[in-house]
Structures are given as C-alpha cells and as structure tokens.
C-alpha cells in the first residue's frame, strides 16, 4: 500500500505542475485584463505543436525548442492582445467571444498544418528514477515538475521585485490610479498577455512528449484550469497554485482508488463546495469575485 500511495503522490505532483502553469497564466490574464480567455487551452496546444514542428520533425534540441515555444506562444498572446482584447477592452463579453473564435482558428490551423490525428513526439529521455520496484519517477515527468517550480518562482520574483511587476499589480488593483501614476495600461496588458500565454505554451511544450498531441487537446486542460481558478479565487495567483495542487491530488487519488469518472465528478464537487462555503474562492476577496 505504501508503494501505491507514494507512486500516486508522484503522479499528483506532475499533474499539479502543468495544471498550475496553465491556471496561473489564465488568472494573470483575467486579473489584469478582465478577459476570460477561452483560447488559453489552445495556447497550451500550440506549445505542444511547437515541439512537434521543431523537435519531432527537425530534431532541434528539446531545451532550445522549449525556449522557442515559450517565446512563440507569448507572441501569440501579444497578437491576441493587440488584435482582439485591446479593441474590446471595454467589452469583456466581446473579448470572451473573440477568444472563442480565436480558439477555433488555432484548432483549424493545427488541423490544416499537422493533420487531425495525434502527432508523434519522440521521448526526450526514457530514463526513470527507481525509488523501489513499484515507485518510479520518469525523468520526463521530473522535468515538468522542476520547470513548473522554476517558472512560478520566476513569476513571483518578477511580480514582487521588479518595476514591471509592480506596475502590473498596480494596474490590476486600480487601473485609473495606476494610469494617474504614469503606468501604461496598454503596456501592462501586453506584459500580462505575454506571460500568461507563454506559461500555457511552456506547459504544452513540457508535456508534449507525455500526452497525445492533437488539435483538440486544449479542451480538457482548460476545464481543469477553470475549476482551479474558481476554487483558488478568481484573480488570485496564490489561489491558482494552491488550488492546482489540491485539485491534482484529489483527482489523482480518486482516479487511483476509485476511477477517473468519479474523479471528474469529485473535482466538480470540490468546486461546488468551495463556491458554497466561500463563494470568492480560497484566496479570493469580494471585490474580485
């Protein structure tokens, strides 16, 4: 039983890692821009297809591909900000609908470019850390865990220790006051969109060798991310991280000890419970709900 529990904990750590990357990006975009970006799962998908295009097809080193994927998807975020969200800044519903349209465009582009079938991504490494015969952590999954910790720490430092980070937080808390202080709302929106998209993209890059890469892979990730954002508290980065860990552990343990369908129901019940007990989410406050 100890082996089973330990392996399940390792599985949950991996799951929490990539979900938190996606969810934190989603929260950042919502918090700063007030946009529910339905295309966020597709940014995750684009990150995975960067791996298909460069690593699978051209054998470019994986680490370099990860860097390219991060920047590329971040730039797609900038494109979304410029072409959709900035013109619709005062119309959140318009931004939401535009993001749904962009979601379809990205899916169609992926289908046309790479085909509708699952794309093949060769393993980055087949090495496995064997704690015991029954407790094993594949190195690929460890990379995802370490990268998530690294990126989220870097984001924390950026937001708390840099001028850009302060500007971002200030304009999110009170955009008018921030503007009076000379902070450009457009500039902060661009930064938020780049970072949020890049985090989703890098999550796609990191997990591409471990999951099925297809044009519709963003769907399941965005559902988990939305649950996490609601549980954590809309607009709260700490909440997104804590809720990602909670959701991943609950989902993984229930899948292992019951089944995956019950795990999905449990995840939704968790969200419902939080909404009943604390409607603003674990870390949310009334003015952000």
């Amino acid at each position: 039983m100890f082996d089973l529990l330990a392996q399940t904990v390792l599985n949950a750590c991996y799951s929490a890692s990539y979900i938190s990357l996606v969810a934190v990006g989603l929260v950042l975009i919502f918090g700063v821009m007030g946009i529910v970006n339905f295309a966020h799962g597709e940014l995750f998908m684009v990150g995975a297809y960067v791996v298909v295009a460069l690593y699978s097809n051209y054998d470019i080193p994986y680490v370099l591909v990860a860097a390219i994927g991060l920047v590329f998807v971040g730039c797609i975020g900038l494109l979304m900000e410029r072409t959709m969200f900035r013109p619709l800044r005062d119309n959140p519903l318009g931004g939401l609908v535009a993001s749904i349209g962009f979601l379809m465009i990205l899916q169609a582009l992926a289908s046309i470019t790479f085909g509708v079938r699952m794309a093949f991504v060769p393993p980055v490494t087949q090495d496995v850390i064997e704690f015991t015969d029954k407790i094993r952590l594949p190195l690929q999954r460890l990379y995802v865990i370490l990268a998530a910790v690294g990126f989220l720490t870097a984001l924390w430092l950026f937001l708390t220790r840099t001028r850009f980070g302060w500007a971002l937080r200030a304009s999110a808390q009170d955009p008018e006051a921030a503007a009076l202080q000379g902070i450009s709302i457009t500039q902060t929106a661009k930064i938020a969109m780049f970072i949020g998209a890049a985090l989703a993209g890098v999550a796609g890059v990191l997990t591409a060798p471990l999951i099925s890469v297809n044009p519709h892979m963003g769907h399941s990730v965005i559902i988990a991310a939305f649950i996490v954002v609601i549980v954590g508290g809309v607009g709260s980065l700490e909440g997104a991280v804590v809720a990602s860990i909670a959701y991943a552990f609950v989902h993984t343990f229930v899948t292992t000890f019951f089944d995956g369908v019950i795990a999905d129901i449990t995840g939704l019940l968790l969200m419902l419970l939080v909404l009943i007990v604390k409607p603003t989410g674990l870390f949310g406050t009334a003015d952000r709900a």
């Binding site: 007030g34 808390q173 999951i211 989902h251 899948t255 999905d264």
Partner: protein, 435 residues
Amino acid sequence: MNLKSMITGLSRRGFLGSVASFAGVSTLGASLPGRALAADDNVIKIGFLAPLTGAVAAWGKPGLDGCQIWAEWVNKAGGINIDGTAHTVEFVSYDNEYDPAKARTGATKLIREDGVKFIMMLGGDTWPGVMPVAEQTGMLFSTLLPSDLSPDTTTLIAPAEVHPVYNVTGVEWLAENKPELKTAVMCAQDDALGLPSVATYLAAFEAAGIEMLDEPLLFDPATTDFAPVVTRLMSGNPDIICLDTCYSDYVHPICEQLFQQGYKGQIISCTADFYDQMIEKTSKEFMEGFIFQFPDFDDPAMEAEGINFKHANAFYAEYAKRFPGQWGAVSWEYAAVMDLWKAAAETAGSTEPDAVLTAMLDDGKGMHAFGEADWWGKDLFGIDHALVGNWPVVVIEDGKAHVKALKSIPAWYDKHGELLKKYMSDYGQMWNQRT
C-alpha cells in the same frame, strides 16, 4: 498578491445576442456544401458521413482516403455495372465532426442535394441524429459500430466491423496460446464505444477462465494524464492488462506509462494504430507479444484463400505511398463496405437503396473482407444486419504486426453467447436497453 478584475457589467440582452450570432455563424458554416454538384447520369454518388476533423477524425478521415483509392481502382477497371451500363463511382464527403446534429444536417444534404445512393458512417454517437432521416427517406446507411443496430434500424447495416464482438477472438487466442496467464485487469473510456467493449472483454475473459482482479477502471474521454490509471492497473500485479477499445490517443500514453512504471506482463487491446510509434516511445521488447485485432494489409495472410478484400497487399502499398504513416484500423473498412455494396448493386441491377439491401441480405450470407460470413445479430442487436464471420488475431513480433489466426466469432458465440448477453445486459448495452 491581489490582481483585481476590471470586468464591466454585461447586459443579458447583449450576452444572448452575442451567443445567438455566434451560433448562427457556426450553423451557417456547417451547412455549406462541401463540394460542387455534378449532374452526370453515369456517376453513382456515395455519401461519406463521418468525422473528418475533431477528436474522432482518426476513425473517419483514413477511411475516406481508402475509399478514394478504392474508387480510382474500380473506375479504372470499368466502374460499376448496373443493368449492363457502366457507372463510375464518386464519393461525396461531409464532415459530421462526430456531432449528431451535424450528422443529421449532413445526411439530409447528401440525400437531397447530392443525390447519393448509399451513405457510409462511423456511427456511434452520430447515428441517433441520422436515424430520423433514414426512417423518412429509406436511405441505406452503413455503420462500423453494430451497437447502432436495433429492430427499428431497418435500413442500417454493419457489414465491415462487428465491434466489439470480435474482441472475443483475441482473448480466446491468448488463452489457447498462453494458458499460464490467469489474471487480468482492464481500463476503458466511459463512452458508447468503451462500455460495450468492456462487456465483451469481461465475457471473453470469463469464457477463457481468466480471472478479473478488479472492476474495469473507467476514465473520462477527456483524460490526458494516464499515470494514475496505470498505477491502479498495475497495483494488483495482473498477468494481463486489457486496454479495451481505447482510442489511439489513449492507447499510446497508456502503453508509455506502462513502460515507464515497469510493467512486464501481457497487453491486449482492440486496436494498436501506429504501433511503430508506440515501439519508438517504449521498446521493441516491451511491445513484443502485444495482441490486437487489426492487421496491416501487407501481411501475406491478407492474400490467403478465403480473404475477400481484393488485392489487400497492393491496397496497403498504395495507401502507404499516398498517406505515409497514416494506416490505421479504419483505412480499409469503408472500402470493404463498398465491395459489398458494389456486388449487391450489380446483382440487383439497381442502385436504389431497397433493391441493394435486398440483394445484400439475400440468402443470409455475405462476402466479408475476412471470409464468408452470416448476416447475424438478432440476439444482440434485435436485427440480423451485422455481417459476422472470422476475425483476425494480430500479434506484434519483432516490431511488426502479424496475423496469427483467423478465428470464428459465431463459433465462440455458439458456446458462450449467453455469457456475452449477460454482460451486455449488466452494462446496459443490449439493443432494448439503449436510449
């Protein structure tokens, strides 16, 4: 760290207006004809109504590709002879995206606008959307999933694939050839494809004397990380892990997880599409002995006496040349359905749906791709519209799929039919239990 939202108020009217516009644009896009109409009397149009995009496209698009090769070959050889007149055949496709509403729109469009004489479908979740159209028009449809059949589906046939009943042949072969394997566990996606297959495998394992160590582990079709599923499967140290009828998007990551978590036992699965990629993600040794049900058509066994699929090896070579690396379970199936339809239409001297159906079902036998077979299914589906005979058992050896045996489904059913019906009933999969 607090990030305050800047959401402004939304009016209900604005929300509804935007959603309605979005829905309208989507519907308009879906209903646009896929190709121009032709008016040649000597062209027989066949409808291909399957998912060509979306998550289930892997069981539609490769079939259309196979049909295009089939049509070229048939047309080059003189076409279809109807009452002494040669007709060329042309496929008109409609992407139903595995959506029942789009399937209904597609069926209507194919019949009313394109004038097709026969419509091939993947079936499954899309059939309920199409069934009213079939009832109103009398159009002949085919499905790859006989679980769509019921006494009411009088113009629906399942002439290629008897999913999931053929899975019994793999388990039967496994029990005969590896009698030392005595315990099994199974996982499956919780959907219309997974559940009848679960019932079938449970019956097959019980008939073979193989003990199930645990209840089948069901997972949501939206699952992406299969590590918890695999951890649970391996926790009881089973001799056999059965992957049911999982989509290839699941079979691959599950196998990769089994490899990474150190599984060394037997794997059996309905499909193993792109198994070469699975080998690359795991190892040749890990995949050795993997049992599944869909042969590569370059296998010499596919040219053996009794196999009715014409020029199987050449078909595979042509397919591989045009669509490298894309061969899958359904690449040949729709073409095999067309072989049956062509033979029936030529016999009937007509392309009218009722005449072709009558000719097809005449004498209760048909030339299935894998040998002569019976129109069967009253017990399980309430109607004898499934063509059932032999089915291959395929094993991966030294990195390549080989047909190890052609085993008889009716022979198994004669011995263990009650068991199958019991499990189908337990899982609510008998025709009179389905909604």
